[in-house]
Symmetry: C2
Subunit: 1003 residues, 2 copies
């Protein structure tokens, strides 16, 4: 920045600080309860977590017992609890009936007061009244309706209607408000130029299925409702600003803005929010300005720093996406100044709302505007209601034009807003915290943020990095990045890949034995389940002679493969991963067509296959290094692993690449040559393993592909004496049959067969009485119906606590109704066709059983005409003894059970033969601890969907009749494919033993 | 030490150094090959190891190919090999036929010359000739016959006869030698007083089974032969000195000396060696002097520092015994001075030979003797032939009386002696190395060693100690110390414990179910297999109702036990270990009587049981800590383990406490309640588990004891649906039956049963053509016949390479003949009775088969009268297809196979259904590497016995039909008893996720 300008900014900043000297935002007033809570939170991270989480759950604590219990669970007993929390209660016996009531009342009152600090009113009436008060103080407002997450069409409508009502109410009132003083000419307007009615609208509240995967559908749906609000706003000559939310929806929101902007090109008062903390924003802003000039439309931009920093960072790290936000706070501040200047430079076409509490940022905008000679009516300042009172006062003094962002509405959704504000204010890098709670040096607070950022970048670069190296000199294992539909190229990739795949249909796929293709006259077609007349390919079928050949090939490959060093074997997997990564969209497209996976589900399957390759390669290198056991001198004991022998891999169709690749690659990398039998339903995807391993250059005979009819060659393969290891994933019936048959040792058999058998599930999700329904509803829907519920991990039992049953089910059913069933290649559909005719019939039969055992709560429409269609089905009134509570349906049928309390919910959840996955939505620390202990499933998920286990992060598999306790993608998995050996060497000869570094020698 | 004396010693030492200034021992002469080899060895530890090991194996390299191969394997290719080694060969193409021959010749000649440096001759004649030369230079000698380890009576006789021949030869010669000059009166004697004939004898060479466990037997046998040599020596009026060897035999040797000393009390020339490096020696010397005064006999002591420091240290560390030697070199030097003074103070009854090359030590003896006025004829100096030539010259100058210790005999045993000398001279702390190869400061070399030692002790104490802490704040796991029969109290403990156990015979042992004793009318007696008429006790037998009760008890104990924290469960095991440790000798005594284990074998079984308890306790604490997997922020994934359910433990009789305790404690500590069925043959030892766990306070129902007839309740237990886990150790037939039956899932069964099945073995030991037979013979004998061969790990096939077959078998058979079969309670017997009547019949049948398939090479006599006696049997001419090469005999029958080469030996070793243990004796680095790779057994042992796996150090178990790849006592064992679970928590609420320390956060 130009030094002269910077000096002016600093000068103005100092004046600003002087003008508010001695004042404190009420948030940091330690005399009051809220100030104490903030003070404790800033000093004690653990308390802060508990405090904020308690604020979050607070609205759900609808009776005294719930409230008392949660207070105790979150803040501990009398001794642990900070005294300001327990004031008054201690004397009365804190958790007794009397003390409890005092405590409940005090804490409730204080939290409500804290919320009221930020919320201008709970009703339209109250909000307008308070707004009028603010106007008297010289502030105008932008009104924002608080809302729960919108999970249905009905909820979206409610949200729209609230705005329409607000506008209607303001329509009457605004006439009675005199405009705030200003330089402009129209005294009926604020400051002589600005509409007195100003609203902000959150676009995702207008459509419950907003999702970049269905970009066009999302834009159209949001725009339709936004337009209704805009039309009403225009009636009032009001201002409508489209709020920006999380990064995921940014492109959708920009598109909605552009379309509305064009459609109502002459209406000036339509704005959009941009977030300076996004790395994209420099370009987004430039693009938007260029677009506006080209289209000759006027813009209005509210520039904010951005309020979802934690969320964006966490989500990006979890999905291995580039972090979309600046990771140094000063970088966002610098971007804010840079972007402010760009907007102010374009003030002829772009109105500017500077929304920041940062005195440096505000001073910069004031000085830049002055330098550029921007007229007053082209820019204004916005601050949040309830925050930073000294700052708003200061701006009012120097600039006059201050608009408060005023949320109003119910307390329940208000809590989310409150937590965001608390988080913002207690962050170490918060300008307000530093200015008012910690009294940092004014010089430092006013420094050019570009300079600060540069200094911090340098300091960060100088810090020692955590080592991220994995075994064998490789990088540490990382899950493959999830598909990112915020990126236009990912959105475009799917239709392109699907159409490219369609051009390849109708081929015949041979067997692959000993490095050679083998064709058979017997073939089976595979088809598109959404359109069975579309034959994708013909799969050659192995009979017994082919299986024999494959086993012979594996047998002759075994010695050399076993003796191939672990790192070399791992190298083939890494090569295979590389090949699959390059084909990721194409492989996904095959899954969309051959088994009806939704785009994201298909990509996740391919990514998981790649993860298995990358993970097991590293695991093998780790385990391949002999481990010295014991440290006595004169003796070397090495513990190491060897392959068991020939592996039969029998794979399912539901994760046709991931599970096949996982089992096969584990066997291969541990040194066991493979005879692979894919599911008949997904023969082409099965053949992808051939293509990948072949290109990776795997030696002949190490991987053999023998699709075939189970009735013809299944038992033969299982019984064969040369097979030492069977890895199976599929139904319990087939799994147990394999376990039993394989236990018989046949003549000439070298080993007792090892069976890795992953079988079914009947997975329950518990909804506790304090669950966050905004989270629980969409996660349950996804867990139950994603990929048509055809996952062994899928939620097939929903156990809802009586206290929350009605509210939860209402929202769940409403959300279900918003979804549609149709071909998965169209991303507008939530659910596609099921795997095949047989599955369709079986699932429909279970729906009939469900109708008898309980009541149908929802059955979706299904497409007419051909295809294996089954409705999305939710059946209530199910009890533990019902078949729908005990048997695996393996389709989109959710059995709902109403439990009287949490203990019963846990008991019911555990009451099946299976123990695969489970889920719980609760915010009670005690219930979560209880679920960890007692909800005995292989994979328990807390407050999230219970499907989509990731390699390494969620090693997958269960016990009881769900599996034999192996955990795919986990640290012990490869051990099941190997036998440990020990070599002990006496290193002493003639009394002379060389010393080893890790000997226990004399000390 | 008194300063004046110390000053005198230093003064004399300096004079000494001056007097030999500029001279170097030939060993350090870098102009010669030997000096170069020493120089390289001192500079390069890796070369030193290879060099010394090559010297060790050299005598076994009896043809050109063997020699060339070993040179390449030990010293690498042309580029890696030091040039002095390859001189001359390089030009001719080093490993070609011409270069190889040159290399062989050069290296052979050089090594032989190096050996000749230390050996006074290869034959008696040559030795005497060289001795006469030495006499001309003014030195007298003590003659020592080099010998291989004595492995048989015949070899002991040969050794005796060599001495007798030597003495006979000297008898003739000594008359012609004039006495060396000296102050004494008799000119026919050396120095006027000393016999000209002086020999040193190694006592263990006189008895191949010398062993402190059989203390009296060893003393008697050694004394008998020593006496014959002494009598012959006395004929010549010669001097006999009994050499001291390893610490293990010290007490035996002292006892032999005392007995001979008393028996020939008037003969003055009988000496003993004491080793100053032993911590015992101060006391041993004082005791010996006191004893001599009391008995009024004259002593002669040769004081040495001691030559087996590495060996003693390694052995002690391996067995967890106190290290018997001083671990700071200067402590030994200080002890040498202290003990020299004590002897010199007692010169009236004790003649002294000071045997050291250390100029400080020599100077100290000279000055102390002077101070005490010791007459010349009461002390002399000894140095080793071929070493430290300047030192011997120096002593000759100042004291006159120098005797050289002169080994003579074959090159083969000479190599062991050579390695010891090389080791001594290249040790960092070697006085000679420091004085002559490194030219250390004379001041430092002459420092009072007590001062040096104190300084080093202080320095060592100040050094940071390696952490030896284990999981959960416990000490790191250490194997229980082996029984130490060098300690008189351990030797006495066995007869005492056996007699105390005998006083308790005849009791009835009840079942133990749900914390209560349950008696049944059906009982089975257990008997002493060496005397079946001796009934030890009556064991109540469980029928189906009792097994049902036990399962019910375990089932009701399961939930609470599963939920007991891992550290608490581990605590019970540690308590049990404590209890068993206190009863170790008593528990061992029961094994001697109930199953016929030799003392050491019985104790080892008890120690292993305790090891399992200590190890699994720590392992459970380690595994009990949930492990975070993945590090994405906002999500916590915990991977942890849970018990599988009810465990049936079916145990064998051969390691009746160790294996039972191992399987049961693994199940218990992982949270699986146990129904334990011991073997009927060892019911009392089975009941020891009840006693131990009961005293440890294990909750009711966690451990249930149900001995019973397999035919009555075996299948019932295996089939029972409530059993989730079966741990079995026993025969292949029973193991496979369990595997097959247990695979069937019965109605109501919660889990697919997990089977841990350790089965049989048919274990081969390979004797390579370069094997060290001194080591191989006794280890093979022990591996095959220890505990009557009744170990699944026992050597039952011996594969000897053709080239070494005759020599090896001759020695093996000769050693076998030296052993005896009889009741194990008498430690004189190498082998006892077999387990029972049924086993006896089966083994005898196999011996008959062996007679048909091959030739009996040895069948020992067996005791007459009652008892389950089977002869120690060695059968030759066995081929891979024979039943004796394929079927497990489980008794003292060794099948010997003659292989044409190493590849065939490996192929044969791998040619059975089993893969449990294996062994190889070889000194070829390439063969050892090949065996590591290709001898595919669970436990391979290199150059040692292939039984006696230790917990943690040799995790035990095999694959193929030997087992299912679990490894008892290894790092993965407990995993087989548990199922992993994962709990995934989404920790983000309202966009706020607490940070975890190990999150992958933004960098």
């Amino acid at each position: 920045m130009e030094p002269a300008l910077n000096a002016k900014i600093i000068g103005r900043g100092k004046e600003f600080f002087n003008s508010i000297s001695g004042e404190k935002p009420s948030l940091f007033n330690k005399g009051a309860w809220m100030g104490k809570a903030m003070d404790w939170s800033m000093k004690n991270e653990q308390f802060k977590v508990q405090m904020f989480r308690f604020v979050d759950v607070f609205p759900a604590l609808t009776n005294g017992k719930l409230l008392t219990d949660h207070i105790r669970e979150y803040f501990g007993n009398e001794k642990e609890m900070p005294s300001f929390l327990s004031t008054g209660a201690k004397v009365a016996g804190m958790f007794g009936s009397l003390g409890g009531a005092v405590l409940n009342k005090a804490i409730s009152a204080n939290i409500q007061e804290m919320a009221r600090q930020f919320i201008v009113g709970e009703t339209t009436k109250e909000a307008i009244k308070n707004l009028e008060k603010l106007r008297k103080e010289g502030f105008t407002a932008v009104m924002d309706v608080l809302g729960e997450a919108t999970l249905s069409e009905a909820e979206a409508e409610t949200y729209v209607n609230t705005y329409l009502e607000l506008l209607e109410a303001m329509k009457k009132e605004q006439g009675s408000w005199s405009g705030l003083a200003g330089k402009g000419g129209d005294s009926k307007l604020d400051w002589g130029h600005a509409p007195k009615v100003n609203i902000a609208v959150k676009p995702t509240a207008l459509f419950c299925l907003a999702n970049p995967q269905d970009f066009e559908g999302s834009v159209v749906a949001i725009m339709a409702r936004m337009e209704r609000i805009l039309i009403k706003t225009m009636e009032l000559n009001g201002f409508l600003c489209i709020d920006m939310e999380s990064y995921r929806h940014k492109e959708i929101i920009l598109e909605v803005y552009r379309r509305l902007r064009l459609k109502y090109r002459d209406y000036p008062h339509l704005g959009i929010v941009l977030q300076a903390y996004l790395k994209d924003t420099d370009k987004d802003l430039a693009d938007l300005l260029a677009w506006a000039r080209q289209q000759k439309v006027m813009l209005s931009v509210r520039l904010v720093k951005g309020a979802y920093w934690d969320y964006e960072t966490v989500k990006a790290k979890q999905n291995d996406w580039e972090i979309p936000v600046w990771t140094i706070k000063a970088e966002s501040d610098a971007a804010f100044e840079r972007q402010s200047r760009m907007i102010l430079e374009n003030h002829d076409i772009c109105h500017f709302a500077c929304a920041s509490h940062n005195i440096r940022s505000i001073s910069a905008v004031l000085e830049i505007a002055k330098e550029l000679g921007v007229p007053d009516e082209r820019y204004e300042f916005q601050v949040l209601y309830g925050m930073a009172e000294p700052v708003r006062k200061g701006i009012l003094k120097v600039a006059g034009r201050v608009r408060l962002y005023c949320p109003y509405g119910d307390m329940v959704p208000g809590m989310g807003y409150l937590v965001r504000r608390l988080l913002e204010n207690t962050a170490n890098e918060s300008f307000l915290r530093q200015s008012f709670a910690e009294e940092a040096q004014i010089e430092r607070l006013l420094e050019d943020p570009a300079v600060t950022a540069e200094r911090e970048r340098t300091a960060r670069a100088a810090k020692p990095k955590k080592s991220h190296s994995g075994p064998g000199g490789l990088s540490r294992f990382n899950n493959m990045a999830m598909v990112d539909f915020t990126r236009a190229e990912h959105r475009a990739a799917f239709p392109a890949a699907i159409s490219s795949v369609r051009a390849q249909l109708g081929k015949t796929y041979p067997l692959f034995i000993n490095g050679r293709e083998v064709t058979t006259s017997d073939t089976i077609p595979t088809v598109n389940p959404a359109k069975p007349s579309e034959v994708l390919g013909l799969i050659c079928q192995a009979g017994i002679p082919e299986v024999e050949k494959a086993i012979a090939a594996a047998k002759s490959a075994f010695p050399a493969w076993r003796d191939t060093p672990p790192e070399v074997r791992a190298g083939y997997l890494l090569k295979a991963a590389e090949i699959a990564r390059k084909r990721a969209f194409e492989l996904s497209a095959w899954q969309v067509l051959e088994i009806g996976k939704q785009w994201d589900q298909a990509y996740a399957d391919v990514a998981e296959a790649i993860d298995f390759l990358e993970y097991y390669a590293r695991e093998m290198i780790r385990l391949g290094k002999p481990q010295r056991v014991g440290h006595a001198p004169g003796e070397l004991n090495h513990y190491f692993y060897e392959p068991k022998g020939l592996a039969a891999i029998i794979a399912p169709w539901n994760f046709p690449l991931a599970i096949s690749m996982g089992m096969a690659s584990a066997a291969i990398v541990t040194g066991n040559p493979v005879v692979f039998k894919p599911s008949a339903i997904t023969g082409i995807i099965g053949h992808h393993l051939v293509e990948i391993f072949r290109e990776a250059g795997l030696p002949d005979g190490v991987f053999n592909f023998v699709p075939g009819r189970g009735s013809v060659m299944g038992d033969f393969l299982v019984d064969h004496p040369d097979i030492s290891l069977i890895a199976f994933t599929g139904s319990m019936e087939v799994g147990l049959r394999i376990v039993e048959r394989a236990a018989k040792v046949h003549p000439g058999q070298p080993n007792v067969k090892k069976i890795i058998s992953e079988m079914g599930g009947k997975n329950a999700v518990i909804i506790d009485d304090d669950a966050d329904l905004d989270e629980a509803v969409p996660h349950v829907l996804y867990s139950a119906f994603g990929f048509q519920g055809q996952k062994c991990s899928a939620c097939s039992r929903l156990i809802v606590l009586d206290a929350v049953y009605d509210r939860f089910m209402e929202r769940l059913l409403a959300m279900a109704k918003a979804t549609s069933v149709g071909p998965s290649e169209d991303p507008a559909h939530y659910m596609g066709a099921v795997s095949d005719d047989k599955a369709m019939k079986s699932i429909l039969e279970y729906i009939n059983i469900g109708k008898q055992e309980g009541q149908v709560l929802y059955m979706s429409p299904t497409p007419q005409g051909e295809g294996f269609w089954v409705p999305m089905t939710i059946i209530g009134g199910i009890r533990p003894e019902h078949r729908l509570a005990q048997e695996e349906v393996f389709g989109p049928v959710l059995a709902v059970m109403r439990a009287k309390d949490f203990d019963q919910a846990i008991e019911w959840a555990n009451s099946t033969r299976f123990a695969l996955t489970g889920g719980i939505f609760s915010r009670s620390p005690e219930h979560l601890a209880q679920a960890r202990r007692e909800l005995r499933v292989g994979n328990l998920y807390i407050n999230r969907n219970n499907t989509g286990a990731l390699v390494q992060r969620q090693p997958f598999g269960g016990a009881r009749m769900s599996g034999v306790g192996t955990k795919a993608g986990g640290p012990d998995y490869l051990l099941h494919f190997m036998d440990p050996r020990v070599v002990t060497e006496n290193t002493m000869r003639r009394g002379f033993a060389p010393m080893e570094e890790d000997d226990d020698w004399v000390e």
